[in-house]
Each structure stands twice: as structure tokens, then as C-alpha cells.
Amino acid sequence: MTDTTAQELKLKVDSSVYPLEAIQAAAYTFSDRVYIRITRNGGGKEVCLLLKRKAGATDLAVISDEFHNELLHETLRQKVSLANKKIREFIVTKALVSAQVPSTAPAAASEETSEADCPECAAEAAAAQAAGTQPAAPVDAELEKEIEKLLGEIEKSGPGGSDPLGVAIPWEKKFGAKSPSAKTATPAKVKAVQKKKAKRSK
């Protein structure tokens, strides 16, 4: 529902349909064109937005239409993000801390690889869908514990000593008199993986 005046636009959004985060994100997208104030009404179910047009901005009716589309976009983005949060954390954490990465190029996927690699992901997602909720962690408890431990170590190293990748250690202290050739300058385990760059064709 919109109430449009020349320089201001009031929008009311049902927060049981659109999550507050999606409303805020959509509002942020328009912050180059309008000033925005977000409030909740007394009952809390309705989110009210007051959009004030900035100089040179598009017609507020157009902004209203675009805003409603953006609400859908942001809601979808949020769902996709939440559903895949653990799986993404798993991939990035493993990429950052593990050297044991095979060199397989991303060939067309097969049933075997997906099931063997992360059977929990599919099972949990299926269960989540059946229950109408978002999927839970896609990794087993042991692996998750390992990831937590590694993340904890990185955080624990704290200010002054936070150098998990060793980038703050001067060259000579790190390699001493035996200066490696430039090509072997990266840590060996990283090098091993870098060598195995996955080739990809579109």
C-alpha cells in the first residue's frame, strides 16, 4: 500500500511476509535516491517506511514499484543465503586451512561425487524442506568441530600476534640463509594446491 506525495512516499510492509532484514536491505539499495526512515507500527506486524526524495531522483512512483521488486529480490537472497550458510562456510574454511585438495577439475557432477562428498547436505536439506524449515549444518559433527577449532585458533591469535598465514614474518627470519627461489616462496602446502589449479571450460 502506498501513499504518495510529491517529495515523500510512505510504504507499509507486512513483516510476516517480508523479513525485516530484507526490508532493510531493500531500503539500503535505494539510499542513493531517497532518505529513508524505518519504523514499526504499534502491533509490530507492519513496518512503515518514509522515503524522502533526494535532489534529481527518479519519480517516487517508479521508486515504489522498484522497491517492491527489490523486496522480493532481497527476500530470495536471504533465503538462498541462509539455506547455504553452512555449506559455504565449510568450503571457504576448508579452502583456507587445508592443503589436502585434490586437483580434480570441476567436471560435470555425478551422483557418486555429491553423495560421497557431503551426503548430510542433501539429507538435511531434504529434511528441512519436509519440515518447512531451513536446512541445518551440511557437515558432520566431527568436521564441524574441526572447523570451529581452526576458526578459534585464528581468532585466539588476536591483535599483535594475528598472523595465521605468516605474512608478517620477515623474509630472512622465515627462510634464513636458505632463500628459496621465488617460485617456492609460498608455503609448501599452499604451493602444492596452487599447482593443482582446477581447469575449467565454460
Binding site: V101, C121, A122, V167, K183
Partner: protein
Amino acid sequence: MSATPPVLDPARFDPVQTGFFRFRRLGQRFLITNDFGRYRLLGDADFQKFVAGKLDKESELYSLLARDGFIRDRMDFDAQIAGWRSRNSFLWQGPSLHVVVVTLRCNHRCLYCQSNAVAMAAGRETDMTQDTAKKVVDRIFESTSGAITIEFQGGEPLVNWPVVKYIVEYARKKNRKAKKNLWINLVSNLSLMDDAKFKFLFDHQVNFCTSLDGPADLHNKNRVFAGGNSHAQTVRWFKKIYRKTLRKMFRIEALLTVTRFSLPRHKEIVDQYVGLGCRGVFLRSLSPLGLAREVWDQIGYTADEFLDFYRKSFDYILEINRKKPFFEQTARIFLTKIMSDTDPNFLDIRSPCGAGIGQIAYNFDGGVYACDEGRMLSRMGDETFRLGSVSQASYKETVGHPIIKAISVASCLDNQTACSKCAYKPYCGICPVHCYAEHGDIMGRMPSNTLCRIHMGILDHIFTRLDDEKNERIFRKWIKQAKERTSYQRQ
């Protein structure tokens, strides 16, 4: 009625079938990308089926999406992890680019001078001493990066020739023991070049980089030189160095800076670069730093004006490619990320940016800055990005400085509200110094950020053109040539 058609009902999203993706509407198509940098352009119907997990599992599209990590229950973890590591390999390096400002003096007075160079008459107060130069080189060699590039900047570096010479010789000498992959670049207007200097630089395998803003009248309007014709001097030496280094590992490149005066002249500018035998052109927009900021009303432009220039130039370059290979450098950087599993390590467009962890800038007085842009800002009286001095702080203190941590956090796109959801996130990067100069805040505000708008406009154009197989073949040639000999790229 909606301005653009709605995507779909988000409730139809299938969390079992559909893996993580970001999306953006491009005309009648939807671009989807993921954390591994894979992309696919989908029509409206296919996009909706993909989101809802309703694609035909026997279809070619489904196989391609599965291969590229878009299908959640077909994820090839090992391959995607390897790809992610490869794309982010710069995280394990350390500062490879070391910008050394040997003087602030310059014999040009360019309208947009982002370094705020001082006049030649200013005397030697802003020339680096040999003692400071030695400390700078010693510090550079402490870097954990196995590949080092020393880049002379200014002012005009040739004004302080004895120190340039000293650094080249001392660095080469040190490297006999360190055995790093050492590259030395000279960024110069070439007006003070002579045969003796060139012979020394050639013998020591120094790369050359000069500024060329297009045809003579345009170049000379932008790059004011009281000592004569800047364009003539630049082109004369460019041709000579180009000939001499033609088959060498080191060579000469030219850089374009686009001012308001350049906007209507895209063809002439590109023709100038083609005519000189350049492999490509780098269509760089102005940064709001230094003198450029002061005269923005006269030489600046909006992001949309720049993008109009960029698109015309880009399409003209595509026409040229029907006869000979010739690339646009910003596009080539993005295309390398889009079409391969490598990152060209362009320090200004990566996440996190290269400040402090990919590059360090050393001022004439030994002052150390997180990046060259931070050093430029100091010329405007703002020392926010100063990390200390080569005489005082240790290497560890320098690279572990809180400012570098803050910049890394700010330029990590996962921390940016708009960028983290943007379809272009796998390919993009932001400059916190630019954000600071534009918004007064290193985090910036992307919806109104000029660089963000420019990057998005360029990427929109690239993906639109990439949707044509003929162009795709051209782009593959561009990125095949993109295997740079240095370990970084920057503007």
C-alpha cells in the same frame, strides 16, 4: 504496474536442489554467479525453474549448472575448494608491490595530478636521500612475498636520478642473495630521459610505464609541460623504448587517464594506442585525489558519463579485434576472473584490497603508507593511512598495523552490505581510500559510490557482450595474453 518484472515468489525457492547463487537482471536475462566465480546467463523461465529446483535433470543446462557448483545436491566439493583457493591465492603472499616515491618534484603540471607534485624550483627538500633509499630497499626485501616489484613514482622519478640508479643497483645486488622474482618499474613522463639513463635502465632490465592521454592536443591539454611538447617527448621515447624492448621480458606500457576532455574522443584515443603498437588500452577513470579533486568541476564527470565513454570505447575495441588483437585492460582484469580460476591480482580490484597486504608505499622521507592512494591522500594533508617510517617501525609492525587491519576488513566484500549480495562480488573489489575520500568513511556507501557504479556498469557491459559467442572468442584471446610477468597489477 512494476518498472521491471518481478523475479518470482521467493517461497518457491528449493533449499535442497538449489545451491548458493547471487543474481542480477541484465535486460531480458538473469545473470547468476556463485562463490567460485562461475556464472550463467539464464532466460526468465530457466531462472525461475532453477530457483524452484524444477530444471530438467537430463538437460545440458542442468549439467552445466551442476558442474559449476550451482546445484546443491550435486556439489563437487574438492573441485570447488581447489578453485576457491586458486582464485584467492594472493591471500598467502604478502606485499609484492613496493611503490617508492623518490621525489615529489615534477616538471609537468598535469590538471589531474593525484600526487600533488611540487614544482621543480622547490629544491631538494622533497628528494629521497640515499640513506633513506637504502632503508627502503632493506625493508622491501623483508617482505614475505617471493615476488617483488619496486615501482618508482613521484613526482617525476627521473628528477632524482642518482637515487633511482642507487635503488636499482642496490636492489639487484641484494637480490643475488635473496633470489626473489624481482621486477623494477619506472613510472615516468619520459621528458627527462636521455640515452645514458635509458642504457642504464635497459641494462638493468627495468620496465617502463608512461602516461599517454591520447592525441597531441588532448594529451598536452591534460598534461601541461612548461618545457615543451609533452606528447612529442612521450611518443618519441615510447617508440624508441618499444623498439628496443620488443623481444624482451621487460618493456614499455602507457597509461591513459580519462578527463572530461577525453569523453567525446574515444575513437581517437584508442587509435593512438593502436597506432603506437600497444597491446591494449587501460580506460581509467579519474580518482578524486590530489589536484583532480580541486578542479573536479572542470575536468571531472559523473559515473554515467564515464560509462557512456567506456561502452563506446569498448565496442570500438571489439570492432578493432575483428582485424587484430587489442584489449581493454579493466575488462581483461574482470574477464580473467570471470573466465578462469585465476585472479590477476590487480590490487585495487580484489577482496580484500592490496593495501598493506599486497602493496606498500614509501614516501621520499621514508614515511610508509598502506598504499599509493593513501600516500596521495597525505599530500592533501591527511595522514590517516600512514603506517610509520622505515627508520622506526619494524616490518612486522608495519604489516600488522591496525590501519591495515581496518582497511582489510573494510575492503573484504563479505563485510559490505551491498557487495556481499551483489552478483559481481566474485570479480569485484573496492578501495577504502577512495571510499574515505568520497564518503569520509573507509567502509563507504556502495549505492552512491562512484567506483561501485563504474564497476557495475563495466561488468554489465562485459556480461552483455559475453552473451555473444563471437565476443567470447575474442575475450578468451585477451585473457590468454593476460599471464603477466609480475605478481600484481595496479592502476
